[in-house]
Symmetry: C2
Subunit: 365 residues, 2 copies
């Protein structure tokens, strides 16, 4: 917040170029890439449109595993622009496996790109084995596109090592910046396709690349959000990537333990559980609206409801960016108090104790 | 800046809905419309794409008078999405007249929309008689689209009274908000076309309309910029529209008088001179880079250079939003000092006196 409270500078002047250059260098550190990176002024969905449009020509086949609201959006971006979506339906709460990806490429030929949502925020499920999946894509001469909007900076994603050709991230999730920016990485293989794809306009990456040489953006950037992103990236460099991922992992494990001790059923299957968003089904007789309202108004803890077909059936807790034992124990404590307020019968304190134990065990190591 | 220094709220929660509802009501006041208004997270060019895409089907003719860099962008948005651009070339520094619009519709039939840049920021020329132009468009059953990105809030634009079917404004110009948001107004006639147009994705207005009913946006909004816009709109309501336009007019007249007294040739023709951006040709032997660098580094006044084919030949001064006698006299004073530093021979003080006289005459009234 303090970083944003500075006068807006001319985005065609030397101060902006210095700012943007530093941001891009630090983004390459976070994406772990030597490829090009960009910052666009848009919501995450704008970033998804950008990734798809820049590799798509009419009729191209793009494969998308669909296992939640955000992978539906990714699929819709393909069809919205004249692409043919090759869809693999996956249970919500699960994610595609390398074997299923292999199978997909066996069944369907001439797939131009395989695009996957790394972390399905709507279900709390993270796709695993991306490196292996990337290799399968490349073996079949398809681009590997990763929508990492809600997870980049909160779980590992070494873009170059895992062979990700285009990666999209959002400012407001694990990158700890207010919403309004999307970050993309683009490698040589992706550029080759982008150069032949039908041109876009606001999201035309070739325009962004032209201006990149001079550390500028083609259109007026959201300068105050760039200030915030700059500060957030400096904080991330200070912490280091692996300690950061470990912290998210520890916080998520604590939350899962606390919720399970309270009798909640975790929504995603164990092997796909996210370490940046925790989704749980409601206990019987607990009303979504009442639960979240009480939690928010009495205990000042804001959690999200279910999305799409899961609305009313579950709730989701973000474990993104600035999160530590303090936030996790506060959240579990508030949930326990809310359950008590709603007349739920349980051993009060059992969730907090289980959550706390995860942190205690970790510090004994 | 202070308005933005608040925690980010859940954009699907009651606080956001209250915020967005107030913003929309106040935007209707500024646009002077009873139609729908929207806020999108994007740069101005994204707003232009949105306006065009939502009314365009393949092969549709859209007429665009081209008289500068931003009207070129508007024209390019038409062709980028499969529209046929019916172009009227106008001298840079001039703007289209109702007679020319009438002429255009006589020559070319079945024009779906006429889209004009109200204020061409690259040349400092404002299109006049928009009400008359709007009437001509409607007489020929064409939509009237106005790109008011750099001017809404700084010069009059009663959207409903002037028959503007779609209007686009940017946050970072006369609306005094940091860059990153675009505002659109859409009336019933425009909705009828939008409902039949080829669908967009991130910029699909039908999606925005769906969420509008609940005072939400379909994709995560740039919340901190919404805070800033909210505050800016409250400031605009306090001042009132007409006093605000008068203030811009007075400041611009003072600047024109000061620059002319110093021997500068104003770029746009007198009848098209903008009251929100002032563009002047350089005096002989004054170098663009040196002039603007000195002005910025020694006197802390930032002015913009020329764009496109005008690069190096002229400079531009914003008269947008928070601007008063203080800023105008500071700017003219700094320009005089810079000219002296660069060895230009002139009667020092003549510009400041002329600029000051405009304010003095006004306060005597």
């Amino acid at each position: 917040m303090r970083a944003m409270a500075k006068p807006v500078i001319n985005h065609r002047g030397p101060e902006f170029r210095e700012l943007y250059r530093r941001i891009l260098n630090n983004l390459k550190f976070v994406f772990e890439t030597k490829g090009d990176v960009f910052v666009l002024t848009a919501s995450g969905t704008g970033g998804v449109e950008c990734a798809i449009r820049n590799i798509l020509s009419n009729g191209d086949k793009i494969a998308v595993p669909v296992n939640g609201v955000f992978s539906e959006r990714l699929r819709n971006a393909v069809t919205a622009f004249g692409g043919k979506s090759i869809e693999t339906t996956i249970d919500w709460g699960s994610a595609i496996t390398p074997a299923q990806v292999e199978d997909l490429f066996e069944k369907e030929k001439n797939i131009k790109a395989f695009a996957v949502v790394y972390n399905e925020t709507s279900t709390g499920a993270t796709t695993r084995n991306l490196k292996e999946i990337g290799k399968i894509c490349h073996d079949h001469e398809a681009l590997f596109v990763v929508d990492a909007i809600s997870i980049l900076g909160g779980d590992e994603l070494p873009v170059d090592e895992w062979g990700v050709d285009i990666c999209v991230a959002g400012s407001q999730k694990c990158l700890m910046t207010p919403p309004g920016l999307v970050m993309l990485s683009v490698n040589e293989a992706a550029w080759k396709i982008a150069e032949t794809a039908r041109r876009s306009y606001y999201f035309d990456l070739l325009e962004y690349r032209k201006f990149l040489a001079n550390y500028e953006t083609p259109y007026t950037p959201a300068v105050t959000l760039f200030y915030a992103l700059d500060e957030a990236l400096l904080m991330m460099k200070e912490e280091g990537l692996q300690p950061r991922y470990n912290r998210h992992n520890l916080c998520a494990r604590s939350l899962y333990a606390g919720l399970e001790a309270l009798g909640f059923q975790i929504f995603p299957r164990p092997e796909f559980r996210s370490q940046v968003v925790v989704a749980a089904n409601y206990l019987p007789k607990i009303d979504d609206k009442k639960f979240r309202e009480l939690l928010r108004e009495k205990y000042h803890v804001v959690v999200a409801g279910g999305m799409g077909k899961l609305k009313g059936a579950m709730f989701r807790i973000g474990v993104m960016g600035i999160v530590s034992q303090l936030e996790i124990l506060t959240t579990i404590g508030a949930i326990e108090s809310t359950l008590l307020d709603l007349g739920h019968e349980f051993e009060y304190g059992v969730g907090s104790r289980a959550a706390r134990d995860v942190f205690a065990r970790q510090s004994q190591r």
